[in-house]
Symmetry: C2
Subunit: 110 residues, 2 copies
DNA sequence: CGTGTGTATCGGCATTCGCTTATATAAGGT
DNA sequence: ACCTTATATAAGCGAATGCCGATACACACG
């Protein structure tokens, strides 16, 4: 399953947002998502499974709870794909790199 | 239709790649995609439609041809969404900004 | 004009996906 | 041991999606 397929679902995107700032238990995630999307616990669990199995989330059991956290690698894939289009809205990305290099060069020369 | 839904399809992603470096006619795109994915002309046309209708591509008729080009706004949406996760793989993004600012400051002081 | 070429649309079908209810597993507390 | 809480899995169903063949539309050129 490709990264974009996983992110194609709004519930899964929301879950990632919810765990973006640190671990959350499946229960916490479920509570929020249930409220926002009106779907059942199994539905949320299935989405968590997709995120797990596709490398978007890691799980750590603590007692009877399961704490989910973001695994950035898969998301980074998306970022990499976007790279080739980024010049459209940051036309001066190269200029940015140049800027940095120039800053370094100038400091070196001092 | 959300941006990620559109990008969920590999054919549509490929089409965007194909028009990333400049306009391509529907025919050119179709030829490549047909070869790579083994799908029919109507199938490609439908994907082009989705890209069009969701703001990922613009069309410009030239005679009987239709030239497609990337419209970055929709893609940028995806980029914006990724923003909140980017710190995971570029922990020093702030440092980058600092770097640039420092370069500017130093040049100003010369 | 009529014929060909490029592209889009239509109708229908098969598959996929997400949801639900019901149930299983597993750990904790009493 | 039993019951509860937390989470996952199973089975089945309806909707959405993507594809195809057929067809329509539109422009170009003889």
């Amino acid at each position: 399953m490709h990264a974009f397929d996983v992110l194609g679902d709004p519930v899964r995107r929301r879950i990632l947002e919810l765990i973006a700032d640190g671990e959350r238990s499946a229960g916490e995630v479920t509570a929020t998502v249930r409220e926002e999307f009106g779907i059942s616990q199994p539905a949320v669990s299935q989405h968590l499974k997709v995120l797990r199995e596709n490398g978007f989330a890691s799980v750590r059991p603590v007692g009877t709870r399961r704490l989910y956290a973001v695994r950035p690698e898969a998301l980074q894939e998306v970022d990499v794909w976007l790279e080739r289009f980024r010049r459209f809205w940051t036309p001066h990305l190269d200029a940015l790199a140049t800027e940095i290099a120039r800053g370094r060069r100038e400091r070196r020369q001092q």
